[in-house]
């Protein structure tokens, strides 16, 4: 830095000297000790697991691709995807009702989220499974005990799968309603006004202007809900929903390999959530295009302004 006084004058003949920075870092013994302890702990944990004869690695490996396990895996995937799709639809409906001008619709939507977020999912699942005790039959026809066009018996209609789907989807809808509502509310009210000033109807404003912008806010928590749902489906085991945990339990009730079967189930859950996390990452990237535009704006501001002629 010998050139400081000279730099101010702006007349410099000699080239700037190269002043490399290869400074020595202060020692950090604490970090080394902590790392050593962590590594030691992990190695010890792995060692005890691997050499433990009670874990039956051969059984785990054998059942990982067992037909019944794969069947349960498929049911888990179906339950997750279907209940998320139905839940999202219910959530959008409830959110739009919540933001409508009608106090009746607002109250109905509020009651829905209040009830289904306020009671445990486990209770709801058992309730749906036993709905036949309250309503022995379902039908389409005149309400208030009028004649029915079609009628089904609850015992035939409510299988463990449909009960699970009802419970998971309706419960998910209540949570998605809040997520969608937050997304819609995040859109600048001026956007709505600009669209209305063009003469758009409420529905056009929602579909063309508000929802596309709300998606950026809705997508990330929806991804989290999906990953969470993959694991929540295991609750369905209380009504024997034939998903991953249920079939694992059925197997260990026969062969008494409780821990091995739980590990088999866990391995598949981890595989599913990992795939979903990767998918979530890419979907979020796609919806970050607004931020991408911000970055280009910063770059553009570094360029001289392109003056538009009028």
């Amino acid at each position: 830095m010998t050139g400081v006084p000279e730099a101010a004058t702006g007349t410099r003949t000699a080239p700037e000297p190269h002043l490399p920075i290869d400074a020595i870092r202060p020692p950090r013994p604490g970090r080394w000790v902590a790392a050593a302890v962590a590594v030691l702990a992990m190695v010890w944990l792995l060692y005890t697991i691997i050499v433990n004869e009670n874990l039956h690695w051969d059984v785990i490996a054998e059942y990982l691709t067992d037909g019944r396990i794969l069947g349960g895996l498929w049911v888990t995937i179906q339950l997750t995807v279907l209940s998320m799709v139905i839940g999202l639809a219910l959530g959008i409906l409830a959110a739009v009702m919540q933001l409508s001008g009608s106090p009746v619709l607002r109250a109905a939507s509020g009651l829905y989220t209040w009830f289904f977020r306020g009671t445990p999912l486990l209770v709801q699942l058992i309730f749906w499974f036993n709905i036949g005790l309250v309503f022995p039959s379902f039908g389409i026809g005149v309400p208030f005990d009028g004649p029915k066009l079609i009628e089904w018996q609850a015992n035939e209609l409510i299988t463990p799968f449909t009960a699970a789907l009802l419970g998971l989807a309706i419960n998910e809808g209540a949570y998605m309603a809040e997520i969608v509502r937050a997304g819609i509310r995040s859109v600048d009210p001026g956007q709505r006004e600009a669209a209305e000033a063009l003469g758009m109807t409420h529905r056009q404003v929602l579909r063309r202007v508000v929802l596309p912008q709300a998606m950026r806010v809705i997508i990330p928590p929806t991804g989290n809900q999906f990953i969470s749902m993959l694991k929540t489906t295991s609750m369905v085991s209380v009504i024997a929903g034939a998903e991953l945990l249920t079939v694992s339990q059925r197997i260990y009730l026969g062969n008494f390999e409780v821990i091995a079967m739980l590990i088999v189930a866990s391995v598949w859950y981890i595989v599913l959530t990992t795939i979903a996390s990767v998918g979530q990452h890419f979907i979020e990237k796609r919806f970050e295009r607004g931020h991408h535009a911000l970055r280009t704006r910063v770059r553009r501001n570094l360029r001289p302004f392109g003056k538009g002629s009028v």
Binding site: A194, A197, G199, T201, Q213, A293, R297, G308
Partner: protein, 263 residues
């Protein structure tokens, strides 16, 4: 008011505002405003912030409802239908039809951020009027050319300067072929060096015969382009007249004080 109905269409003003009052909760922001804008006329509305000038503009295309009074645009009563000497609220679809004829430009542009400049201009005709996309695109390109931005058609709003965004917003309104354009402080959110490019577009629009109501602080624009200057303070019209005359000779003390602050 009965006279308005019998008047011939040629003498009928584009905008007729009569005794309009508007409250926000306990605060009365418009305390009885009456104003005519002739066809092809340019009215500049000025006044201190909170005087109600923006509210008045928003009442004309019913972004705000009024508590009493009447507003007609091109002979149509805004927001209501008169039948058997009673007013009936218009259905939402009828309101949308009325708004199609009234363009509005906002202080903060409110372009749709998820659409390009071209798509922003196409959006109204395609969605509201059902114009085929190819025709809407051609017309949108013409309008972007008119506001000097045909080279920015593929840009997203966040990639445009404030002045460019506002010019796209003007093109977006013009795409609906409005009879009347409302400008709500169109240059107030702009950096000073970008104000002129927007005013130039508006000047051009006024010269083409568009009826315009402009809420603004640009006294130079009002003097040059305006046919009528309206000073609103405290929810009432305090002074109005030919801009060149009232700006040179403000009669009212409050107007004089206001001009002292903005000029």
């Amino acid at each position: 008011m009965a006279a308005a109905v019998t008047e011939s269409a040629s003498a009928r003003p584009m905008v007729r505002i009569r005794s309009v009052r508007k409250c926000f909760g306990p605060v009365e922001v418009l305390k009885g405003i009456s104003l005519d804008v002739p066809v092809g006329g340019v009215v500049c509305v000025v006044g201190p912030s909170g005087s109600g000038k923006s509210t008045l503009l928003r009442c004309v295309n019913r972004l705000e409802t009024i508590d009493s009074g009447r507003i007609w645009v091109d002979g149509d009563l805004i927001g209501y239908a008169e039948k058997d000497e009673r007013l009936h609220h218009l259905r939402p679809s009828q309101l949308c039809a009325q708004r199609q004829d009234i363009g509005m430009v906002f202080q903060r542009f409110h372009l749709f951020p998820h659409r390009t400049a071209l798509e922003n201009v196409m959006e109204g005709p395609v969605v509201v009027k059902g114009v085929p996309k190819a025709a809407a695109r051609r017309r949108a390109m013409e309008l972007l050319d008119r506001v000097g931005l045909s080279g920015r058609a593929g840009h997203y709003p966040s990639q445009l300067s404030g002045g460019q965004q506002q010019r796209v917003a003007i093109a977006r309104s013009l795409a609906m072929d409005p009879k009347l354009m409302l400008f709500d402080e169109p240059t107030s959110a702009l950096d000073p060096e970008l104000v002129q490019e927007v005013l130039a577009v508006m000047r051009d629009l006024a010269a083409s015969g568009m009826t315009m109501m402009v809420v603004t602080h640009e006294m130079g624009f009002a003097r040059e382009v305006g046919d009528n200057l309206v000073f609103i303070d405290g929810g009432v019209i305090v002074e109005q007249g030919d801009p060149r005359q009232v700006l040179a000779n403000p009669a009212n003390d409050r107007f004089r004080a206001f001009l002292g602050q903005v000029l």
